[in-house]
Amino acid sequence: MLSEREKERIEEEARQHEHPRAAVSEALLIVQESRGWVPDEAISEVAAILGMGREEVEGVATFYELIFRKPVGKHVIMVCDSVSCWITGEERIVAHLQRRLGVALGGTTTDGEFTLLPTGCLGACDAGPAMMIDGKLYDTLTPERADEILAEYGMGADAQTSHG
């Protein structure tokens, strides 16, 4: 199932290390980069390339929070729910995002555009609440600011992505 390009990139990554298994999280993220997530078949193929057991690769894939074992939306929103952001109003932001997107934490909008996930500290503790979308950090969030940011990712002002 892995494309030639994916295999080449994983093999290239493995060559950077004395021990090929050191490349396993990077290999899974290479798969994720092209597919958005890591499907079952990819686990076996990555294991074969790196000379690991299938269950070992699965163990890694399910341990790390940035490796997704289920399909996610085109954009992944990670909202910080750690203590400094909680004090400065994280719950209000999470409630607002859930309402706007029509999903609970962990959910993906029905149009497949956004997945909403909680995450630990993003290192913006002096500028909370904070969230990260596709690797870009946004801080000092208000519900209004969150709407503006969602609009940058193609969510219209009165679009309701929720269809139940």
């Binding site: 999280s25 929070e65 002096d126 690797g135």
Partner: protein
């Protein structure tokens, strides 16, 4: 150095917008002179200088850095390495994920070469030939600035083969973590680097003897390492003169919570809680400070009448908490202490690696009880169960420091904010909602 650089050696050259200091500017400010000095000395001399400086690890535990390095088997004093059986590793722990901590991000974004120089000197001191920077993938700006800096340093001959004309080879590799708080725990980090789940390892053997792939390995925090070039360049006595007390050097302090100007400051080690809160502009109008976690999420609460506690390792320990990462999280009088502890314990329960039973089962139990208190369904007996967990998850009861760290704010909150916990039970609701 100018006086500003002398007082704030770690951050004086960092721009307000945090744009990474380029190599030429870093060199103009004295950058890589420490590495030149180090390489002209034996590894043992470099270790001795860092030991003499009194530098203690800035990642949370405060272990003396020079002593940590000295546990690497080096053969005879003078630096010749006895074993030649393979690689030796220096690992930069840049997996900053302790809630409330944001200091290493500042150091890496703003002055990546300072970290590289510190890592290179540390690598020389233990004769490592491979250095890893274990960086959170979420720290995308740090990744950019470090990747560029590594390329610049390679081109300039600070990294690579026969560094600065010596016979020493060193390569630097970035490892972008796939994300988990446990990667910040040094043995969990090594497992992650080996392509395994980031569960903790048994100690001993300590990593200095048997670390990455069973080879001698030193793991140091970012802030620890950025001190090293300055210590080597200016000397241990200069480093001691930076702080008025017995704990030497400067510290990157942070303040978060409902203050007027939360942020980060580099100040002499031993700055008081009050001085920091004042720098942060004090509490927002109408709010009072009720307590604070002095050094990240896994430290005991200090109370509002401990404002004059000096923030150095020994003083904070004497006051009943830990300096930890030195980045304080402030609780105000309009925020529910039980809710704050719930936020903390939800984090720790989620981040438990599941490897040992007390942590895997205990922390979610603690979080569920706190949740029920917040929802008004808590009972008196629940407070006893919470107290029991403080003991059941104490140091020695679990495999690593995650759970003991998690119950530090819990145990201290149960004492300090007892009335608030009781009110949740008796009023059958959260009084702040």
């Amino acid at each position: 150095m100018g006086w500003e650089q002398m007082l704030k050696p770690l951050t004086a050259d960092i721009r307000a917008d945090r744009a990474a200091l380029p190599l030429a500017a870093y060199e103009a400010a004295g950058g890589y002179q420490g590495l030149r000095t180090a390489i002209s000395q034996t590894p043992f001399q470099v270790q001795q200088a860092v030991t003499a400086s009194g530098l203690r690890g800035r990642g949370g535990a405060g272990f003396p850095t020079g002593m940590k390095w000295s546990f690497v088997p080096m053969g005879a004093p003078g630096g010749s390495t006895a074993d030649t059986g393979g690689h030796r590793y220096l690992v930069v722990n840049a997996d900053e994920k302790e809630p409330g901590t944001m200091k290493d991000r500042w150091l890496m974004e703003g002055n990546p070469h300072q970290l590289l120089e510190g890592a290179l000197i540390a690598a020389w001191a233990v004769q490592a030939d491979i250095a890893y920077i274990f960086l959170r993938r979420e720290y995308t700006q740090c990744a950019q600035s470090l990747t560029r800096a590594i390329a610049e340093a390679q081109k300039a001959g600070y990294v690579g083969e026969r560094v600065l004309g010596s016979g020493w080879n060193i390569s630097i590799r970035m490892h972008m973590s796939a994300g988990r708080y446990m990667c910040g725990e040094e043995s969990g980090l090594l497992n992650a680097l080996e392509g395994r789940r980031a569960t903790p390892r048994n100690k001993p053997p300590f990593p200095q003897v048997s670390g990455l792939w069973g080879r001698p390995t030193v793991v140091n925090n970012v802030e620890t390492l950025v001190n090293v070039p300055h210590i080597i360049r200016e000397g241990p006595e200069w480093f001691k003169s930076l702080s008025p007390g017995s704990d030497p050097g400067t510290k990157i302090y942070g303040v978060s919570g409902k203050l007027k100007r939360p942020g980060l400051w580099e100040l002499p080690m031993g700055t008081t809680v009050r001085e920091l809160v004042d720098l942060a502009g004090g509490m927002k109008d109408g709010l009072k400070l009720r307590g604070l976690l002095p050094g990240g999420a896994s430290t005991d609460f200090l109370s509002a009448d401990q404002m004059d506690v000096k923030l150095d390792f020994d003083s904070v320990a004497k006051a009943g908490s830990r300096l930890g990462t030195g980045t304080m999280i402030v609780l105000d009088d309009a925020t529910c202490p039980v809710g704050m502890v719930l936020s903390l314990e939800k984090f720790f329960a989620r981040e438990s690696c599941g490897f040992c039973t007390p942590c895997r089962e205990g922390l979610p139990w603690v979080a569920r009880i706190l949740e029920s208190l917040e929802q008004g369904t808590g009972e008196q007996r629940d407070l006893e169960i919470l107290e029991q967990h403080v003991g059941l998850l104490a140091p020695g009861r679990t495999f690593c420091a995650l759970a003991p760290g998690a119950v530090e704010p819990l145990g201290s909150a149960l004492k300090l904010f007892r009335d608030d916990f009781e009110k949740h039970v008796h009023q059958k609701r959260c009084p702040w909602k």
